[in-house]
Symmetry: C2
Subunit: 110 residues, 2 copies
């Protein structure tokens, strides 16, 4: 019954962002994402078919929404809802510690 801990199994070295799928079915997908200094590639924008609710749990990040001039700075506990097809990119994550995100992707229709 008892599953896992979001803050365990954080690799000491992380060549690229690490994504673990915690729950997945046709309605919802819950992911733990770990970044250590990683950012979206230059010019890359996420453009997702599903809505995403995301919370930053440890570390720090800057998230840029398309059309905004300034990124959003996220600290632990900060959460936001990204509608489907709202383009966004991760400009920066802290290089000094693991940034742990929890993301819930879900169908957006009313």
């Amino acid at each position: 019954m008892f599953d896992r801990n979001l803050f365990h199994d954080l690799p000491a070295e992380l060549p690229s962002e690490l994504t673990d799928i915690l729950v997945e079915n046709r309605y919802v997908r819950i992911e733990r994402i770990v970044s250590t200094g990683h950012a979206s590639p230059e010019g890359f924008w996420y453009d997702q078919d599903q809505a995403e609710w995301v919370v930053l749990l440890t570390g720090a990040a800057r998230l840029l929404m398309e059309g905004e001039s300034e990124p959003i700075f996220l600290k632990p506990g900060d959460h936001l809802l990204i509608p489907a097809h709202r383009k966004h990119r991760v400009e920066w994550t802290s290089p000094q510690e693991a940034t742990v995100w929890l993301a819930v992707f879900f169908c957006d229709s009313a």
Copy 2:
């Protein structure tokens, strides 16, 4: 665009468990739940139509699943999946600090 912080707005005194709905549509409901020493009433069992993925973010709790002899002790980061209609109750939460849970309820059918 930027919403809120899960660890802000924690009441100093909490007469009963506090639930904030962060996202809700027909497929998914995301809740922040704050407990400070609260437990399920004697003899009460949660029996939910939807599956629930839950993570404890701060504090500590003991969760009992029906049919198990021992509760599960949860510390920050611990998460588990509770299938629909799997009866469970909160036996105990820490009286000394806010226990913040994040719960994602979703349709369970394949």
